[in-house]
């Protein structure tokens, strides 16, 4: 016990030493000049490509024209935002983005955890490895490829229609891509298909890290499989789940672009278009940079808000947090 205590004390002291910042002196600067020069180059690069675009947010408050540029265009205050907030189709995109984002977030979490727990129960290593390897292959396919595969699977001669017709649910092929009500579930399914195996890797790693003695003790106490999962496995991976939920919460508004863009058609556009596509249509196709930027700012602000709220909630409940 005392040995442990002193070891951790030593480690703490060492960490404090490491974290203690060296004083900034000319001697030190001269010694580190290589590092400092590189650091400056990286700051310049980062400033240009990551921070400079933030200056473009000015456009949202202007009537931006390419001819007059960022500094010569007329300022119009909040009128672009007013137009945006009065546009019904914009609110549709907000609803769609949030709706699909949340459905994707929830379903992918549940599926990944269920898959990880079940895969962990597969005791023979051979089949386990094979299943796992296959499970995360789709993660490395592009959304374009996934869309192509999805179009084949859901086409009038595809497997889904074929099965549904054989079972007798359908009399004739059904066009899935023209159904507004089915669009969100299709996106959720495609997302599960692509990412479940990949998302499960991290839970599998967390499950492996749980002390096997806990399971043995539970077995001696007569706990069944379900009790072991409920009382040991799930609590054991709880902190991983919380961290990932937090990290992904901020991405809710990013959860939809490619599939929605590729599958969009007139019949479903009210339920498929997301904020990103709205920005693309107005900003690039219609060349209204100001409106596109305004919608982009709205998205960024809401995203950061979600991260902060999620972080605050996690802090209140005493869970892990990001910052």
């Amino acid at each position: 016990m005392s040995r442990l205590g002193s070891a951790s004390g030593y480690r703490r002291r060492k960490r404090q030493q490491e974290n203690m910042r060296k004083e900034i002196t000319w001697k030190e600067i001269k010694y580190q000049k290589t590092l400092i020069i590189w650091a400056i180059l990286f700051v310049i690069y980062g400033f240009i490509f990551y921070y400079l675009p933030l200056g473009g947010w000015l456009m949202a408050f202007q009537n931006y024209k390419a001819k007059t540029g960022l500094f010569g265009s007329e300022f119009v205050g909040l009128s672009k935002f007013k137009w945006l907030f009065n546009d019904e189709s914009f609110w549709n995109t907000v609803r769609n983005t949030l709706g699909m984002g949340i459905i994707n977030l929830v379903t992918s979490f549940i599926m990944a955890i269920v898959f990880a727990i079940l895969l962990n129960e597969v005791k023979s290593t051979g089949p386990k490895k094979v299943v796992q390897t296959i499970s995360y292959l789709p993660h490395f396919l592009s959304w374009i490829v996934v869309t192509g595969i999805l179009q084949d699977a859901l086409s009038s001669t595809g497997i889904i229609n074929e099965v549904l017709m054989k079972v007798g649910i359908l009399d004739q092929p059904f066009n899935f891509f023209l159904q507004p009500k089915l669009f969100w579930p299709i996106v959720a399914f495609a997302n599960l298909w692509k990412e479940t195996g990949w998302n499960a890797i991290i839970y599998l790693a967390a499950i492996t890290a749980i002390d096997p003695e806990l399971y043995e003790a539970a077995e001696i106490d007569g706990a069944g499989r379900w009790q072991k999962i409920k009382n040991i496995t799930l609590p054991g991976i709880k902190s991983t789940i919380m961290i990932l939920l937090l990290m992904n919460a901020g991405n809710v508004l990013n959860a939809g672009f490619e599939l929605q863009y590729l599958l969009e058609n007139g019949a479903i556009v009210d339920w498929s278009r997301t904020i990103d596509i709205y920005v693309l249509k107005w900003g690039v196709s219609q060349n209204d940079f100001s409106l596109g930027t305004a919608a982009g700012i709205f998205k960024s602000v809401v995203s950061i808000g979600i991260i902060v709220v999620a972080n605050e909630l996690a802090k209140r409940t005493g869970e892990e947090r990001l910052f």
């Binding site: 490491e18 910042r21 900034i24 600067i29 580190q32 290589t34 590092l35 400092i36 590189w38 650091a39 990286f42 700051v43 690069y45 980062g46 490509f49 990551y50 400079l52 675009p53 933030l54 200056g55 473009g56 456009m59 960022l70 079940l118 895969l119 129960e121 597969v122 299943v131 390897t133 296959i134 499970s135 292959l137 592009s142 374009i144 490829v145 595969i149 179009q151 084949d152 001669t157 497997i159 074929e162 891509f177 298909w193 195996g197 890797i201 790693a205 499989r225 990932l244 901020g250 490619e258 590729l262 058609n265 920005v279 693309l280 690039v284 940079f289 982009g296 960024s300 950061i304 991260i307």
Partner: protein, 305 residues
């Protein structure tokens, strides 16, 4: 006697529950594998099938009327060849540059004695959460004359905070003692990076390189946004995307007829499948050899320390 019977009964109940569970689990895993693989194999079968014949449907895992014509059409298209060259080029060059820059930056912020390490880390971590958005970025690239060039694929995305942090975490785990002797010999920071740190970082370098390479291979949006007018800078995924949307539009009308090419027919559907297969083939073929690096990468980077 009764007691023994009871325990036996209990045991057999547990045994039954266990068997039931294993059977259920096996069925679940098999279903999972089928759902994952079937659509891919089905697209593969369609890509090797005659166009008009494919429209009749009913093709599952084996082509009914085998032909290589779909692939011939895909590979003969001038755009596809150019796209393949550009995609291979951006994947190779983009990965190399990203690897060097991210490793250098990770090395700098992982130096425990570096005077500004926390400021520099924060500067990059912020970029993970705040960004200007699509339109301001497009405007910036226009002003920098990056749009319409090949370099728009390479330069802007080269350094990413996430990849840098993955590498940094790995570098921080390397014991300082290893550098000590080199330092005593008077080695500078760059020599230590090149001779001591980099050889030890091979696993994490491989992981990040693979992530970046897959990202380059799979990207299409930058081609559409920044190089729409420059056909010489098109990429494979963007060409595939164009095929998909045209097949989508024609699928209503083109179900009946196909274009005859030397006795065989091709239709938008079979072309689409062939292009899909051709585009994903390199990743699927390399996948078995590389997948262990992918997994290392996720466990390294996923759990934020």
């Amino acid at each position: 006697m009764i007691n023994v019977n009871q325990t036996q009964e209990k045991r057999s109940k547990v045994f039954n529950a266990n068997t039931a569970f294993y059977v259920f689990n096996a069925i679940f895993m098999i279903a999972f594998v089928i759902i994952t693989l079937y659509p891919v194999l089905n697209t593969l079968a369609i890509s090797f099938n005659d166009g008009t014949d494919a429209v009749r449907g009913g093709i599952h895992l084996i082509p009914r009327k085998f032909t290589l014509h779909n692939f011939a059409v895909v590979f003969r298209s001038q755009n596809m060849i150019q796209a393949a060259i550009v995609t291979v080029g951006r994947t190779a060059l983009g990965t190399l540059i990203a690897l060097i820059l991210n490793a250098l930056l990770a090395y700098i912020v992982s130096r425990k004695d570096f005077l500004f390490k926390s400021e520099l880390s924060l500067f990059w971590v912020i970029t993970m959460y705040v960004n200007g958005g699509l339109i301001p970025v497009l405007l910036l690239y226009k002003n920098l004359s990056l749009t319409g060039t090949f370099w728009v694929y390479i330069i802007p995305g080269a350094v990413s905070a996430f990849n840098m942090l993955v590498m940094r975490t790995y570098m921080l785990g390397i014991p300082e003692e290893l550098e000590e002797s080199a330092k005593m010999d008077g080695a500078g920071y760059f020599t230590i990076f090149l001779k001591i740190i980099s050889p030890l970082c091979k696993p994490v370098y491989a992981t990040v390189a693979l992530f970046v390479a897959v990202g380059h291979w799979n990207s299409w949006f930058d081609a559409m946004l920044y190089n729409r007018m420059k056909i010489e800078n098109t990429t494979l995924q963007y060409e595939l995307m164009k095929l998909l949307s045209s097949a989508m539009q024609q699928s209503g009308t083109a179900t009946g007829g196909g274009n005859a090419v030397g006795g065989n027919t091709v239709t938008p559907i079979t072309i689409r499948s062939a292009a899909t297969i051709a585009t994903m083939a390199p990743i699927v073929l390399l996948y078995p050899f590389l997948q262990r690096y992918f997994v290392t990468g996720l466990t390294l980077g996923g759990v934020k320390g």
